[in-house]
């Protein structure tokens, strides 16, 4: 068996994009960091549509290797309920997340972090009322590891948050229920474009997506409000059944999960425990994208953790809250407000909205400029609560 330190500076639970990126940065700062993930293979199973924007690649200065990219994207078709569409420009990728997550873990490992797959963290060690480490089953062996700081990068269900006493339970209205197939041998309108279908019939309070992974392969999924009687799968199966070009395809993979779409935590830190990524609900409330948000937050978290370790003072960790809100949280809160407006629109109103908006407007709106949307809606004569 490999060497595992029983005492480290930082323990990260979860080796998704949040955990890996935080570990990579910490290791680069010279911090002794260990990352545990319950999955037998980092990156598997995938719970994602795999869309990733170029903006984030640039923001984080990533050099994405080609094996992580399933398809390059140059825009999107957004369909109103009546089938009319708006074309939006925007560059990005549909990733091969299995490869992407694995690559990130290897990068973190090369920087000096210790990564452990098949390592389920089932409890926290408490000493004199303080959280002193974790209890885990590491490749079949029960082990305790002590750490000065614990990072919960353990995804939307974050057991670490719950055990540490940070309430992150998602309200059923602030979480989307997602279901998705990767389909092969289908016909795509344009493999360089994402396709988004809106409408209360198609996907109540959400959308159906087609994210191409090559010429005739795509993630076809749906996200709907997390309190729907029929369930996400019902809507996706109905959508696919209505389309000849999809119905003929094969199922390569089945995936799904919970997507937090709001309810940002005011305080993501408790003593020496800090949350990043889905664990802290750091997801765009309009489109549900969370990979980039998780990594951006991790970058901030790593800086603050390094500072806390240098000063030997866990109170410093609270700075993470302020810094994250300044860099991402305030924008995401605006986007959440916008979603609250859009989710109240009827199909008829959505149709009219699609006629009134240009592609560029939609780009601005999904990036937080909700005044533009409000102005357009008012111009169309819609009554809006609160405006």
């Amino acid at each position: 068996m490999i060497k595992i330190d029983k005492e480290v500076d930082v323990i990260i639970v979860g080796c998704g994009p949040a955990g890996s990126w935080c570990a990579k940065r910490l290791a680069e700062y010279g911090v002794n960091v260990i990352v545990l993930d319950r999955n037998e293979e980092i990156g598997t199973p995938v719970r994602c549509g795999e869309g990733f924007s170029k903006t984030i690649e640039e923001r984080l200065n990533l050099k994405l290797p080609s094996f992580c990219i399933a398809q390059k994207i140059d825009g999107a078709f957004i369909y109103a309920p009546n089938g009319k569409f708006v074309e939006v420009k925007g560059f990005g990728y549909v990733l091969e997340r299995k490869m992407f997550d694995k690559w990130l873990a290897i990068e973190a490992s090369n920087a000096g972090a210790k990564i452990l797959a098949k390592s389920y963290v089932y409890d926290l060690i408490k000493e004199k009322g303080k959280i002193a480490g974790i209890k885990a089953n590491i490749v079949g062996e029960d082990m305790e590891i002590k750490g000065k700081i614990i990072v919960g990068a353990d995804g939307v269900e974050s057991m670490i948050a719950k055990k540490a006493g940070i309430n992150t339970t998602c309200s059923p209205f602030l979480v989307d229920s997602g279901f998705e197939y990767e389909l092969a041998n289908i016909k795509l309108r344009d493999e360089k474009k994402l396709e988004i279908f809106l409408g209360n019939e198609v996907a109540p309070r959400g959308y159906v997506w087609i994210f191409p992974k090559g010429k005739n392969r795509a993630n076809v999924g749906v996200g709907i409000v997390g309190s729907n009687e029929k369930g996400a799968r019902y809507y996706l199966d109905k959508f696919i059944a209505s389309r000849e070009e999809l119905r003929k395809g094969s199922i390569i993979e089945v995936k799904g999960g919970a997507i937090p779409v709001g309810g940002f935590l005011r305080d993501m830190v408790k003593e020496n425990v800090l949350l990043v990524g889905d664990a802290a609900h750091q997801v765009n409330p309009i489109h549900g994208g969370g990979i980039g948000e998780a990594m951006t937050a991790s970058e901030i978290a790593a800086k603050v953790i390094k500072k806390a370790l240098d000063k030997n003072d866990s109170k410093v960790l609270k700075e993470y809250n302020t810094l994250w809100y300044k860099s991402r949280g305030n924008t995401l809160k605006k986007i959440e407000k916008l979603r609250e407006i859009v989710e109240k629109l009827s199909d008829d109103q959505l149709n009219k909205l699609a006629e009134a908006l240009e592609g560029e407007d939609i780009y601005d709106i999904t990036h937080g400029n909700y005044l533009k949307l409000v102005k357009t809606l008012l111009k169309l004569g819609f009554k809006l609560a609160g405006f």
Partner: protein, 61 residues
């Protein structure tokens, strides 16, 4: 609260996304490799989990 109701998970339908674990307000569902594990005495029967489940694998009997 009808405490005699039992939560059943159809393991054939379940895709082990653990979304139900995320939405349960009282941690009455836990992760296990085989799929979500129900902890009966914690459950308030609020049905948030069964409403959430994307494939409707959670049934009440």
């Amino acid at each position: 609260m009808t405490s005699e109701k039992i939560l059943l998970i159809d393991r054939n339908k379940c895709i082990r996304c653990f979304g139900c674990v995320a939405v349960c307000p009282v941690q009455a569902l836990e992760y296990s490799k085989e799929g979500p594990k129900w902890i009966e005495n914690r459950c308030t029967r609020c049905k948030i989990c069964s409403n959430f489940c994307p494939v409707k694998a959670i049934r009440w009997a």
